[in-house]
């Protein structure tokens, strides 16, 4: 069993890195919200997804979090009529990515909120440690 005041810092760090991985995926999606295919009629960028799973750390017995898997959203692409686009097929239709900016923004806010909560736990734990150290100066 690890020191109970060291484990929360590690867990909060794991939580923060999981949320940063999520933010990375979200920013990829937003950046590629208009990325069409390279050739005529080719598929555009597909939205990426991420999911987490909890994992018991054998050394400390604490429940950490890690990235379970990255996935690809298989929902249908948006189709627009735009014959001037280089990615348009012979009927003039262009397939656009299945990225919904509203969904990505909502997801980003949630990732941000969970990141901040993890940071708060980290700070709180640091204060507990410094209170313990303060016992020595009387």
């Amino acid at each position: 069993m690890i020191d109970p005041l060291k484990a929360p810092g590690k867990i909060a760090t794991a939580g923060m890195s999981a949320q940063s991985a999520r933010l990375l995926v979200i920013s990829e999606n937003i950046a590629n919200a208009q990325s069409v295919g390279a050739t005529s009629g080719a598929d555009p960028y597909s939205r990426k997804t991420i999911s987490f799973k909890s994992e018991v750390d054998r050394l400390s017995g604490a429940t950490m979090v890690k990235v379970a898997q990255y996935g690809i959203d298989r929902s249908p692409f948006k189709v627009e009529q735009d014959p001037g686009n280089p990615a348009a097929d012979k009927d003039g239709n262009v397939k656009l990515p299945n990225v919904n900016l509203m969904v990505e923004m909502a997801d980003m806010r949630e990732a941000n909120r969970v990141y901040q909560a993890n940071l708060q736990v980290f700070r709180q734990t640091r204060e507990l440690v410094s209170m313990t150290i303060d016992l020595m100066r009387t």
């Binding site: 109970p4 867990i11 987490f52 993890n118 709180q124 009387t138």
Partner: protein, 131 residues
Amino acid sequence: MSELRLFGIASQQARWLGERQTVIASNVANASTPGYKAKDVMPFSSVLNGVQSGMRVTNSRHMNISGGAGQAGTTATATRLDPTGKTSHSGNSVSIERELVKSGEVKGAYSLNTNVVKAFHRMLLMSVRGG
């Protein structure tokens, strides 16, 4: 020297608070894990009464895994599922607000604990020095 048990009780409570903070950190880290259920530790009163929810030694040939009565501070605190949790659509029952409130409680209790230990230590030193 029965009043000197205060140090023992204080360190036991500090340990319990540390473990509670660990459980809170796990809950917050898993706030977006599908199917994760929020946990909490058993209340401190059950630790103080020595009522551990682990296995009890009822036969002399059993292994004593609870560490014996003399070193109650070394036993691991049992965790339970948080009874107040509301499960969301993804099967996750963590509420970040509730966890942060609990974390604030832990901080307050820890501050009280260390201050009491400090005061008691000062009293002890005073009696040794003779004023």
